[in-house]
């Protein structure tokens, strides 16, 4: 039981990170019907910007861990959002009226470009987030000691998802995003500026993805210029589990995948940890490409 609680908490935390990345894929797909292949690299960029602030510049040491973290969250989300905005302007907007293949090729090109740019700046070796950024304490969860960082990451992921949910369901811009995802033409007939909706989605998605990168750095301690490939693919799988284009689905899909991976690694085999994701991805694409949520739930979300 103790072992289970530990693994369950691990799974939730990792799943929270997958969910944050998955939201970027699913929101862009929702309004543009395009997989933003460069999204994984925005996640990597977030991890490296966090490294720059917290390790290279020693922000946490200079102003204390709490303020240092807060400043990193604001800066990383802001800068990665700006990068996402730029990406949309340069790589996608000029192709808005071209055929789909051109946009897909452009997305792949942007992904390769960003990955190489990050490698040129920070090198190809692993970089380590120092273990002393946060106090190494554990909190008691159901009788189990869970490291503070895990709890913080999960709490932050949950808070961000709640904020996004409120934004999507309770604001005018959120309504426009939902409408554009359902029928872009009809949304335009309502007077919705779909270009603006796309621009907003390309700010929010990257901001969340960038923060996920920061969290991954803090949680696992090691980052690398091509980490976005594996995380990107896992988050993409999470988005598919929840039904691509479905925002709540991406949240649920991310958490499910995190749990599945963590419990699978614990009870089946560690060697299978990453393979689990791909087995799930392939099975869903073959058996139920609309995602695992029941049809009626999916309709409502």
């Amino acid at each position: 039981m103790d072992f289970f609680i530990q693994q369950f908490c691990n799974g939730l935390t990792t799943g929270g990170i997958y969910a944050l990345i998955a939201l970027g894929y699913t929101m862009v797909y929702g309004v543009m019907k395009l997989i933003n292949f460069a999204h994984g690299e925005l996640f990597t960029l977030g991890a490296f910007l966090g490294y720059l602030l917290l390790v290279t510049l020693g922000l946490a040491g200079a102003v204390g861990p709490a303020l240092g973290l807060a400043l990193s969250i604001v800066t990383v989300s802001g800068l990665v959002a700006a990068a996402g905005h730029l990406l949309e302007r340069v790589a996608y907007r000029p192709l808005r009226n071209s055929d789909r293949l051109a946009a897909v090729v452009s997305a792949l090109g942007a992904s390769i470009f960003l990955q190489n740019a990050i490698m040129i700046v920070w090198g190809s070796q692993y970089r380590a987030y120092s273990a002393r950024l946060l106090p190494a304490v554990s909190l008691d969860v159901l009788g189990q000691p869970i490291p503070l960082i895990r709890i913080l990451v999960f709490a932050a992921a949950a808070a961000l998802m709640l904020l996004l949910w409120l934004f999507i369901n309770r604001t005018r811009t959120g309504l426009a995003i939902r409408a554009a995802a359902i029928d872009q033409g009809a949304a335009r007939l309502m007077g919705i500026d779909v270009s603006r909706v796309i621009a907003v989605v390309f700010v929010i998605g990257p901001a969340l993805g960038g923060l996920a990168g920061l969290m991954a750095g803090l949680l696992y301690g090691q980052i690398n210029f091509n980490m976005g490939q594996l995380y990107g693919l896992k988050a993409f799988t999470a988005a598919i589990i929840g039904g691509i284009g479905n925002i709540q689905g991406a949240m649920i899909g991310g958490l499910l995948l995190g749990l599945l991976e963590s419990l699978g690694a614990a009870y089946v085999s560690v060697a299978w940890k990453d393979a689990i994701t791909f087995v799930v991805l392939i099975m869903i694409l073959v058996v139920r490409p609309t995602g695992l949520l029941p049809e009626r739930v999916a309709e409502k979300l």
Binding site: R172, G185, I192, D193, S195
Partner: protein
């Protein structure tokens, strides 16, 4: 109010409208008739700014619409209930209506919803229901009601009778008449020529991308050519 001059629209390389010109005066209810593929929907979509003309002008109260983005067209007071209704299925009736008022700044005034519910009481009964679960007729009511939420000066209706039972068609056309009487100029695109001509003051007939006839409805109803081709002899 609406003036279209020598409008040409192409999809890819294929021209769908070969230079059409038409005029709608304020307060009119004008119908555009034509068989499937004649270019009726293309004409309305060009006015709404969802397809770009190759050449020609679309003016609304003197101002060029053809270079404006679609949301600016709505903001000028031109809205559309499109072919196939295109309601937002996974959203409630009320959310759909609120989306119709999207270009308004600030909260949606209750009087707008009230007006739509007076025209279509069925929508009030179903206001919390998902639009995708409505019947075809109710979805059409929603599409029209949604287009009214922006308080348009010009309302474009694309085949509102499509796929509906005759009784329902009559009721919806009656409502369209009332909307027009309340001061909204209406362009009604229809394949149901007889019903549309009874409703409209004037009509245009489109045939594979060209305007072939324009006249008062009474004359069109008695025109042998129209009788033959569109009124079933």
């Amino acid at each position: 109010m609406l003036e279209i001059t020598d409008l040409r629209v192409a999809y890819g390389g294929v021209e769908a409208l070969h230079g059409i010109s038409l005029k709608v005066e304020e307060g009119e209810l004008v119908t555009i008739l034509g068989a499937n593929g004649a270019g009726k929907t293309t004409t309305l979509m060009a006015v709404s700014g969802l397809v770009r003309p190759r050449t020609g002008e679309i003016r609304f109260n003197g101002e060029r619409l053809d270079s404006l983005p679609s949301h600016e067209v709505v903001a000028r007071g031109v809205t559309q209930a499109p072919e196939g209704r295109r309601v937002f299925g996974p959203m409630t009736v009320e959310e759909n209506l609120r989306l119709g008022a999207f270009t308004r700044k600030g909260p949606v005034p209750p009087r707008l919803l009230r007006r739509v519910f007076e025209l279509f009481p069925r929508l009030e009964e179903r206001r919390g229901q998902m639009a995708g679960t409505l019947s075809g007729g109710e979805q059409q009511m929603l599409a029209i009601g949604r287009a009214l939420m922006a308080e348009p000066k010009l309302l474009l209706l694309d085949e509102p009778s499509l796929g509906l039972a005759p009784l329902l068609v009559r009721s919806i056309f009656e409502t369209v008449k009332n909307i027009n009487r309340s001061g909204v100029t209406v362009v009604l695109v229809e394949q149901n020529a007889r019903a549309a001509l009874k409703l409209a003051g004037r009509g245009y007939v489109l045939d594979v991308g060209r305007l072939v006839l324009e006249d008062l409805s009474v004359n069109l109803l008695n025109n042998p050519q129209v009788k033959d081709a569109y009124l079933g002899g």
